[in-house]
Structure formats: structure tokens, C-alpha cells
């Protein structure tokens, strides 16, 4: 895995947990978008 190991692991954990709890597409897209947004904000600040 790349130097972004922690970020990737967090995303994968979120995905697996979301599927196990009973996947809801709209909620997942909203949370995923928020995560990517936070990632981008951290990078540009």
C-alpha cells in the first residue's frame, strides 16, 4: 500500500462497516463526499 496507508485503511474500514450494518446508498454517498472534502481541505490548508 502507498504512503497514504492510514487514509486508505480508514476509508476501507468505513466501507466494510457500512456494508455490514446494512448499506444505504444515499447516506454512504453523503458521508463519502464529506470524507473526500475533509481530505481535500486538509491538503490545501
Amino acid at each position: 500500500m502507498s504512503k497514504y496507508k492510514k487514509i486508505i485503511e480508514d476509508l476501507i474500514e468505513d466501507i466494510d462497516s457500512s456494508v455490514k450494518k446494512g448499506f444505504k446508498k444515499e447516506e454512504f454517498i453523503r458521508k463519502f463526499r464529506e470524507k473526500i472534502d475533509n481530505l481535500v481541505a486538509e491538503r490545501i490548508s
Binding site: M1, S2, Y4, I7, I8, L11, I12, I15, D16, S18, V19, K20, F23, K25, F28, I29, F32, I36, D37, L39, V40, A41, R43, I44, S45
Partner: protein, 647 residues
């Protein structure tokens, strides 16, 4: 176990009706066409499967007639003279309540499992049947729907859409860089041209000076001073303009930073509003009170009383069984008294009523305990939310500080620009006056026939220089714009954008690798489980003409291998064989993927199978029903009135 199906205004029948089914047996609903068989099983299927959200399953539901398609005006199961219909299905301690409206807005409580339609409903035009009858062996869809692969595929598509967006941005950056290179080339050309023209201008001015050196020295001296003054003013104006340009560029950068920070702050404020709302909701939950209430409820379950009632009920039932057809008998424990049927039945009825009351009370208590536990778990979320609020507040405060700082810088820049503009204006005014003075003096000392052509040439060259300067200015502005790219609503310079895109691509590609492996894992797991069950079923049902029926673990195509080891194409199977295989696959799907919902429903699946195979299938279904305590309900077309019987 018993199942009670209560219907109201379903299909052709107006009003209420109640049907009872027993688990552990095969129930056959038989009757002529349009006698009402299908509406019974459709009602069961609807109660057990809605709501349906997957596209493939929606189609299945519409085909089966339990949901309204786009071209239909009304929901098919609701009686055409009524606006609403109701279904209640009760089995064990599960009660499913459905309200159907003609316009298609249905309410179901609690929700069912949509996979029921693929795995527990055997009908002629089901997806499995349709695939088999048209010879399509690609069954990847079944392992997707019956496992978590479907969800991972959806997530994979979401990640893919982000990667496609990043790809578009890369293309945009490529185009901008290409354009910027072209602009640079143009600027270089213009600057070179400008140098040449400046040199030409200098030559002409030298020629003019040479001619003037022979003219009136006093006037020449005056003119020389004016010209020096003009040059100083021009240099000053150039410097001021350069500084103005730099300050404007700085302001442009600050605008972008302000824009980005303001957007980020807006998002944080929205999130804070949500978090604070949730905090208020959670604070309303009084944890200590609820914990105490739960403790009291748990303490107070009257287990002993129920135990006693159950024992007495059992005893009375035994006595009644012993009595058989008789109305009285000698008490077989004490051999002295008489046991009367009527009295025993009365007593049994009372005990059963008491038990029902107790059961209801216990059920209510258990529901309350469940509710309290849920609330307490939610309340425990509070400290997490408070931390999140603290973090977001701190982030918001930092951003606000940054924003204020940017605003100050912007203000200072603006003042500087205003001051410089003032200077430029003043110098321009002075320059105008000096040029006028110069022009007057030159009129005095110049002899038109000597100077006119040179002055005209000089004027032309100066005009050309002005237009070149204008073009350079426009290209510089375009170059400035071409340095900024918008990524997910943020304005970033090209280098930062490229770095960000590369990082995000790396992260998302790695995530997709993981997703692909999960999808593969889920599909393979589902297919293996399915294959084990289908081949066990073939043996148990004595399908000796088939050696193996299974899903390929790479492409999930259905393979049929005959007992002589030859591979059989689905399209070359006889109709009877296809019907049997379709029924087998459906039963197998049920046993593999949804064994915990104790219903298997078949609509007219046994009529066209040959009698021997029919007998084997029915015996198998009876065994499966008994073994798993399932309700297996089949329909059959006959030329009689509707009857419901156990076989």
C-alpha cells in the same frame, strides 16, 4: 407454528377474510382460473418482501403483479372498487402489516426482505425461469444480489465516478498548460518585436536629434530639459503601473484564498448546526432515569406465573385428549372424582385467555426494554458529538482568523492600489502638460519639410508600441487565469491541483483494488454455497440424468453436465427439463440465501412436470417443510372451486 393471513379488499374480493396455514407441511391452493389462488400467495409475497429498492427486483415485483409498473395506473392487488387494501401476516411472534393504496403509495411495518422475490418465490416468469427458458446461462446477477457483492459494486461505481472526475480535471490541466505554453510563445514573440521597434524608434530619434543640433541652442536646451522631465514621468508611470499590476495579482490570489476559506467555513457551520441539533436531542434523553426504569422492568418479569399457567394448560390438554369423544371420565390421578369435558374446556379457555394477557404484558415490557436500550445507546453517543463540536468550533475559529487576516491584507492592497492610481493620474496630467509644451517648442524650431516624415514615422512606431503593449497586457491576464483550476469547488493553482489529483487518484485506486477483491470474494462465496446445495438437491431428488449443475467460479455461467459427462447447453434442454432445473435453482436459492424466512411460495409450478418427477418434488418439499418448519404454499390449476388443503 401457525401463520394467520388476514386480507381486506385484495383482488376480486371486497371485505375481510382470514386464512390459516401450518408450518412443517406443504399447503396446496387449488382451483380454476381466476378463482383467487394467486392473490393469496401474492399477498404473502408482498408482506414478506417490500420495500424494494434494487432495480432488478423492482422489475421482478412488477412482473409478478405485486407492484405498479410505470404504464399501470393502479396497484394490481387493490380491489378495483376500493382505494385501499390491507394485509396482515402473523407467524411466530412476527406481525407484518401492509396498507396498499391504489396509486401505489404503500406502507409496510416492519420492512421485509426484497431478496425474498428471487429466493423464495417460484413462478413461471421469474427471472431464474426466464433466463433458463431463453438459454441464457449468465447468472452473475444472482450471486450479486444474494451476497454483499451488490453493495460493493455500488460503492465501486461511486469511487469510479470520482476517478473519472479527476481524469477530466487532468485533461483540463493538460489543455491549460498547453494554452499557457502558446501564450508564453506569443509573449516572447511580442517582446522580441517590441525590442526591434524600440531600436527603430531610437534610430529615428537620433536622426531627429542630429538635425536639431544645427538649430537654435536656447530652444534646444529648453526642449532637452522638457524631454528629460517627460522621460522621468514615463519611467515613474511605468513603475507605478507595474506595482499596481503586482498588487492586483496579489488581490486576485487573496480572493481565491478568501473564497476557498469561506466555502470551507460555510460547510463547517452547516455541520455545527446539525451537530448542535443532535446534541439537544441526545441531552433530552435522561440516561439515569431510563437505566433505573429498565432495571425495574427486568426485575419484574413474572416468569414463575407463566410457568405455572403453561403447566396447567398442558395438563388440561392431556386430560381432554384422554377424554377423546367422552363427556366425562374418572380422575386418573385420584380415582375418586369425575372429570367433566365441559368444565375442563371452560378452564382451558380461561387459562389460555390469562396466558394471552400475560404474553401481551410481557411483550409490551420487552418492547419497552428494547426501546430504553436503544435510547441509552444513542445517549452514549453524546460525548462523541460534544468532542466533534469542540473540534469543529476550533477549526471554525482558525478559519475565521485566517479570513480576517486575508481581508486585512486585501484592504491594505486596495489602499496601496488607490494611492498608486492617484500618483499615476497626477503624473499623466503632468506628462500631458509637458508633451504640450514640447509640442509647442518643436513647432517653433522644426522645419516641416525636414522633420515631418521623421515625426510621422515616430508617431506610427509609438502607436504600434501602444498596441503591442495592450496585446501583452491581455495575454498576461489570460496567462494569470490559466494558472487556476477548480477542484471540488476549491480554486487552486495548477501545481497544487496536479499534486492533489495524483494523491486522490492513488488513494481511490487502492480503495478500488480492495473493493474488487471484496466483490470477487462475495461472489465466489455465494456461488460456492449455491453449488454445494444444488448438487446435494440433485442427489436427494434422484436426478440421475444430471451429473452436475453449478455456477462457474470465474464467469458465474450456469453449467449443466449430464451423467455421461457431456456439457449441455441450456437452450438444448427440453421444456420439462428446463422447468425442473428452474424450480431446483429456486429451491436451492432459498435454502442457500434466505433460509431464515420460513416461507416458500410456488405459483403453478407442478402442473407441467411429469407425474413421477412431480411426486419426487412434492415429497422433497414435504421433507424440507418438516425439517425446516417452513410454510410451503403452492398453487395448482384444477377445474374446481377454490380449495386449500395440506398434502
Amino acid at each position: 407454528m401457525k401463520a394467520i393471513l388476514k386480507l381486506e379488499n385484495i383482488g376480486q374480493k371486497i371485505g375481510k377474510e382470514t386464512l390459516n396455514f401450518n408450518s412443517g407441511v406443504v399447503t396446496l391452493i387449488s382451483g380454476r382460473n381466476a378463482s383467487g389462488k394467486s392473490r393469496i400467495i401474492k399477498s404473502c409475497a408482498l408482506a414478506l418482501s417490500l420495500p424494494i429498492t434494487s432495480d432488478g427486483l423492482l422489475e421482478e415485483a412488477i412482473n409478478f403483479g405485486i407492484l405498479k409498473g410505470d404504464n399501470a395506473e393502479y396497484l394490481p392487488l387493490v380491489n378495483s372498487n376500493k382505494e385501499k387494501a390491507f394485509i396482515e401476516l402473523q407467524y411466530g411472534d412476527v406481525i407484518k402489516e401492509v396498507e396498499l393504496n391504489r396509486n401505489g403509495n404503500n406502507k409496510i411495518n416492519p420492512p421485509g426482505e426484497e431478496k425474498f422475490l428471487y429466493s423464495s418465490l417460484i413462478v413461471r416468469n421469474s427471472k431464474i425461469s426466464n433466463f433458463i427458458s431463453r438459454g441464457d446461462s449468465n447468472f452473475k446477477w444472482i450471486v450479486n444480489v444474494m451476497s454483499l457483492a451488490k453493495d460493493y459494486v455500488t460503492i465501486h461505481d461511486v469511487v469510479k465516478s470520482y476517478l473519472e472526475l479527476l481524469d477530466l480535471k487532468k485533461k483540463e490541466i493538460e489543455d491549460k498548460e498547453k494554452k499557457n505554453k502558446e501564450i508564453k510563445k506569443k509573449l516572447d514573440n511580442l517582446n522580441n518585436l517590441k525590442k526591434k521597434i524600440d531600436y527603430e524608434l531610437k534610430k529615428i530619434e537620433e536622426e531627429i536629434d542630429k538635425i536639431e543640433s544645427e538649430l537654435d541652442p536656447e530652444l534646444r536646451g529648453k526642449r532637452s530639459k522638457i524631454k528629460d522631465n517627460i522621460e522621468e514621468r514615463v519611467v515613474d508611470i511605468k513603475e507605478y503601473n507595474k506595482e499596481i499590476k503586482e498588487s492586483e495579482n496579489k488581490n486576485s490570489e487573496l480572493e481565491n484564498k478568501l473564497g476557498n476559506s469561506a466555502k470551507r467555513l460555510e460547510k463547517i457551520r452547516k455541520k455545527l448546526v446539525e451537530l448542535k441539533k443532535r446534541k439537544v436531542e441526545l441531552e433530552k434523553i435522561k440516561k439515569e432515569q431510563l437505566t433505573e426504569e429498565r432495571y425495574e422492568l427486568e426485575k419484574s418479569q413474572p416468569k414463575e406465573k407463566i410457568g405455572a399457567l403453561k403447566a396447567e394448560e398442558k395438563k388440561l390438554k392431556e386430560i381432554l385428549e384422554e377424554l377423546g369423544d367422552k363427556n366425562e371420565m374418572e380422575c386418573y390421578t385420584c380415582h375418586e372424582g369425575t372429570l367433566y369435558r365441559v368444565k375442563m374446556e371452560e378452564k382451558l379457555k380461561k387459562i389460555q385467555e390469562n396466558r394471552k394477557t400475560f404474553d401481551e404484558a410481557i411483550k409490551k415490557k420487552e418492547e419497552r426494554i428494547k426501546e430504553i436500550t436503544r435510547l441509552i445507546n444513542e445517549r452514549n453517543e453524546l460525548s462523541e458529538k460534544l468532542n466533534e463540536i469542540r473540534e469543529k468550533n476550533s477549526e471554525a475559529a482558525d478559519l475565521k482568523e485566517k479570513l480576517d487576516d486575508y481581508e486585512d491584507q486585501k484592504k491594505n492592497n486596495k489602499s496601496k492600489i488607490e494611492f498608486l492610481f492617484k500618483n499615476v493620474t497626477q503624473d499623466n496630467e503632468t506628462l500631458e502638460k509637458l508633451n504640450q509644451e514640447l509640442s509647442d517648442i518643436e513647432k517653433e524650431i522644426k522645419k516641416e519639410e525636414q522633420f515631418k516624415p521623421l515625426l510621422n514615422k515616430k508617431s506610427e512606431i509609438k502607436s504600434e508600441l501602444i498596441s503591442i503593449d495592450k496585446e501583452i497586457l491581455n495575454l498576461e491576464e489570460e496567462k494569470q487565469k490559466g494558472k487556476i483550476v477548480e477542484i471540488l469547488e476549491y480554486q487552486l493553482d495548477i501545481q497544487k491541483s496536479t499534486d492533489l489529483i495524483n494523491e486522490l487518484e492513488e488513494i481511490l485506486n487502492d480503495v478500488n483494488i480492495h473493493l474488487n477483491s471484496r466483490i470477487q470474494e462475495q461472489r465466489e462465496g455465494a456461488a460456492k454455497k449455491f453449488n454445494e446445495n444444488i448438487n446435494r438437491l440433485i442427489k436427494e431428488l434422484n436426478f440421475s440424468e444430471f451429473k452436475e449443475i453449478s455456477l462457474d467460479l470465474e464467469d458465474y455461467n450456469l453449467k449443466v453436465i449430464r451423467s455421461d459427462d457431456t456439457m449441455q447447453e441450456l437452450s438444448s434442454l427440453s421444456e420439462g427439463e428446463r422447468d425442473v432445473i428452474a424450480a431446483l435453482l429456486q429451491i436451492c436459492a432459498k435454502e442457500t440465501y434466505l433460509p431464515h424466512i420460513p416461507f416458500l411460495i410456488g405459483d403453478d409450478i407442478i402442473s407441467d412436470i411429469d407425474p413421477n418427477r412431480q411426486k419426487l418434488l412434492l415429497n422433497y418439499l414435504k421433507e424440507v417443510a418438516k425439517r425446516n418448519e417452513w410454510f410451503i404454499i403452492l398453487t395448482k390449476i384444477t377445474d374446481e372451486d377454490l380449495t386449500i388443503s395440506e398434502i
